[in-house]
Amino acid sequence: MRHRKYPFIVGFLIVPVVLYVVLVIWPYLQTFGYSLTDWSGASQKMNFIGLRNYAKLFGDNVFISAVGHNLLLLLVLPVATILLALFFAFMLNVGGRSGTGGVQGVRGAAFYKIIFFFPQVLSVAILSVLFQGVYRTDQGGLLNGILVKLGLEDAGHPWQWLADPDLGLWCVTGVLIWSGVGFYLVLFSAAMQSVPKDIYEAALLDGAKRAQTFFKITLPLLWETIQTAWVYLAIAAMDAFALVSTMTPGAYYGGGPDHHSEIMATYLMRNFITFGKAGYACAMGVVIFFITLILSVVSLRVTRREKIEF
């Protein structure tokens, strides 16, 4: 039997490995090389220019502000999403009237979970077009329509939502939170349900209040799941390309008005596809890579704690 083992191993690995190396690993490596050239992408001609692309990036105000916007997203998106998801998950699992059956969730918890999770399966195009409707600047927009109806704003001067330099990025962040909370709620719910109920019941017998059970029991026991969620949200915040490029104003790949919602990915795509600066775009790809790398290392270090077994 032994002599047939190696042909089998090679036979099973060859296709996936070749495909993966050609289409994933090799392009990853090439990017580093191209980032050191002035390649336009249109022809084979390219000159080695050393680190000049990177030097140019540090002087590029649009790119610097794009990095800033990504970092802002990185701060706001995970915090808001995780807090909301934890809050809802706690309500659904422990927040119910605790009359007869000890600790339990609110009634209709399963129903809420189905609804909250739904945006997760909607394609990003639908999210984008949907929220362009919600953020419309006239009374036909859902948000402005509600505000006018409630008398909170003058119908003559509606909010400019996506076109407002100070609001555009926040509008996109809102969509990301809106669509993401349901998923993390279900994630945290699953983790909470694996916590034995007697831990809660013991705490209740000792006279713990609901807030205490949350901070002293739920949170520490969920720490590992929260850490996972954090990493996933950080990756989402570094991306955000699909929504920003389609929702915000701008000639190519959004980022407007006047670069106020520019993120690294939109600027990269514009330089690559529209401006034909392939080498420069590669340098941005490398910067995105290093920021992601630093972030994952930092977040894994900072959130490291002793694992609690139960």
Partner: protein, 317 residues
Amino acid sequence: MSTKTDATSTVPAQREVGGTPPRKPVKEQRFADGGGILNVFSHGFLALWALMIVGPLIWIVLGSFKTNAQIGGSAWAWPSHWHFDAFSRAWSKGIGSFFANTVIVLAGSLTLTMLLGAMAAYVLARYEFRGNRVIYYFFVAGAMFPVYLALVPLFFMVKNLGQVLPWLGLNQYAGLILVYTAYSLPFTVFFLYSFFRSLPTAVHEAAMIDGCSHTRAFFQVMVPMAKSGLISVLIFNVLGQWNQYLLPVTLMQQQSGTDPDRSMLAQGLMNLAVQSGYASDFPGLFAGMTIAMLPVLVVYLSFQKQVQAGLTSATLK
């Protein structure tokens, strides 16, 4: 959990432990802060968020029955007529073919992803050979890198491949299928690797002793045993590839005026929204979105338990 409770409830002496219904209301078991006020409070927040999710979606569906003037006039206008002409307009503008494109590509890429991913993960998890660790870490590393790092060379790679093998180039189904598969492999291998490791070896060994070949043991013994793990990672990949936007936008661009539009659903819908397609036809756009949402909604509602369980377990690994 539930089976455990059922088991204990059949033994009367242990009834108290299982937390089964016959338990009497005991005052001490309540939260010290009662729960009545908080219950109203929590229901309020949950209902509000549910409304925030469902509201915009219903609003869009209603919008596909409105006229353009009604949509622009007021967000609260009720559709004045219930004709389906916006739906046929949306369909004729290509929603149907975008759907078909997406289904073709996903059918190919999901089959390949699952097959190749399971094969690689299985060999890496269950066989010892030189270079095993190197290949495994090679795959795992790919899951950490952002796609942007590869984007520019990938575009030219596919473009050049197309000059040698035309059916693999830009704006070709096969090209995109291979790219989707390649970029789904790291996570698929990573997840299935630990799954195959957790499976018992006895059944597999018995099959081998009975003269089963390695390949047959994989397809007839290991794959059925790994079904739950395969489903989890399949759901993860379905959603990931269904929601993919960056790769089709980069790779599925029409190469000339005569090149057919092979946009994926997300990309095509967005192009129609951004370009002239729907410039003055919001009911048509909303109808297109409704058409695009409906099958997802139906599939999600029928399989929501599996979808939620699959996604969470795939993420937590």
